[in-house]
Symmetry: C2
Subunit: 353 residues, 2 copies
Amino acid sequence: MSAFHIRRPRLIDVAQRAGVSSATASLVLNNRVTGNVRIPPETQQRVLAAAEELGYVADPVAQSLARGRNGLLGVFTFEAIFPVTHRDFYYPFLVGIERAAEMLGFDLLLFTSTSVGDGRRRIYRDGRNRLRLADGAILLGVEESKTEVQALVQEGYPFVFVGRRELEGCEISYVAADYAAATAELIERMVNVGHLRIAYVGAEQFTESLLDRRRGYRDGLAASGCAVDDSLLCLCTGQRMVAPQLQTLLDQGVTAVVTESGPIAYSLLQACNELMLDIPGDLSVGLMGDPFGDMENVGHLSGFSIPREEMGAQAVHLLTRLLDTKTPATSQQASLPCKPVAGSTIAPPRTRP
Amino acid sequence: MSAFHIRRPRLIDVAQRAGVSSATASLVLNNRVTGNVRIPPETQQRVLAAAEELGYVADPVAQSLARGRNGLLGVFTFEAIFPVTHRDFYYPFLVGIERAAEMLGFDLLLFTSTSVGDGRRRIYRDGRNRLRLADGAILLGVEESKTEVQALVQEGYPFVFVGRRELEGCEISYVAADYAAATAELIERMVNVGHLRIAYVGAEQFTESLLDRRRGYRDGLAASGCAVDDSLLCLCTGQRMVAPQLQTLLDQGVTAVVTESGPIAYSLLQACNELMLDIPGDLSVGLMGDPFGDMENVGHLSGFSIPREEMGAQAVHLLTRLLDTKTPATSQQASLPCKPVAGSTIAPPRTRP
DNA sequence: CTGAAAGCGCTTACAG
DNA sequence: CTGAAAGCGCTTACAG
């Protein structure tokens, strides 16, 4: 503190000027003058006047310390939050998170100090949980570290994942999208217009959200009375389906395909191009999620859209509920419906069986 | 605190486990083990180990109170940070801010709790400066409240604005883009290919960054030996230029136009369409900034691009430098060059004078 | 080298 | 109704 620094008035200054104790001043300033404490209006006025005359502003830091909560919700991503490539991925979640935080009166603490150099982030740095800076945290990220999350559970730190996450031996809180139901509905839409052989094209990954889609695929087929043929569920390398693979599916009588992600859908469309296939004339295509921003020119894909903004908002609500709960052991899950997108890439198959 | 709640470890817990006083533990944990204090490596190890075993993380609120600093950099916007409409506006700044914060090891505190209901935000809530939760803050936003910024200056709170801001009677720190130089350069580019009558189309607003462009416009003309004709500097309502306005300019012999913003450029292009004007054949067009995301299909506009990411990063660096400074009265400004964009909308005028 | 103690600015039972 | 005091969790001279 240099001599230039303008010393701000403290509670004690207000109290002295009003001729009361700092306790009384605090009570008045915080409007805690009902119930047990009953402070005469006259005294209240003196305190209020003194505060105004001095331009008193309570130090939020001291208040936080005294009250035991800091009103900070953490946001942690296992990759950079604002990377150019993931832009379209994270953004809607953040919009929802911000909206809910604003509504509930919380500030957001973005953990950006825990880089480990390779573009990834850690919760624990030197064995210390940075997240503790906040009362609780929202976790986001496609490539989370199961080890770190497990440690978080063990130390009883309150957090909510955006997206379903399962961990052996412990239940964790999350807000997910109901991919299974949305996928089943998409399949049923295809069956309803006459498709019987519907292929599933996904990535060679096994995250919870992908497993949900695959479950929905089988469920949808079963519910529609279609045979589930596992040779039609094909997982391709590097999020890319190539023309020969597509040809193989067609040879098996496939008339419709559901794709797991934007990049896969994109590669599928390219493959269709190569094979001179008309969509949806020769092949119906569904996308189980949102297209990438830079592939919006591929036409209006049928499928469903992920309620990202809502997921972010609900995660915040769930977290604050968790913070208000006495027993932190309770974990809670929520699953939000995806919104069907009609699109223009589903049509009856050309050759009716 | 219920019995189930896993009590967050405190410094005293670490100290006890390591068999030292909390003072010693604090010293070790803060790496203050050089100079006057010399703590044997063995003791240090014990403390570090205890901290790790307990998952100890210092409470930033307590630290802040005790030493007046907490390693948190605030980010404040006068509107929502992640709004859908401003998406393209804020995003690049945030990318830069995050990158710099990560590099310097700071976490980011996003102030989202201070909504006032009308979509705008306040720094002061109930007369209290929320920003004080952080050591200092980056301020962003097109529609700042001069009153609040003034109050911030008066209480000596360290902050850096992204974008030039002037306030009567006090100097504030900012990282700006050098719009004046970039605009002058753009004008000179036009003059160099033969334009003599260059119009300026802007908005009926008078923010610092717009004034800078207007100054650059005059400077560029003067530097090129062109007459400065104020009737060619036209400010239109609602960020929209209509065909009649454009016609008026053409009637005055205008062969080139610089536009102040994406929306204005967009409306200008529409007006050109209506008047059946070819760009750049009949009219050269320059944009003094970046196009909006959804107008990228209007072709590659000549002009310059704002170094948003760099501005964000530099603002963080400047802020941390400010925090290290003893006298808070010192304010600092930085101005970053814009990047010229060649584009394809500048060509020699059809009729050589 | 290390501990006891004061202090950061506020809140909150607890007495009276 | 109101004040003295303890406490929030940490840091930092100051002694020893």
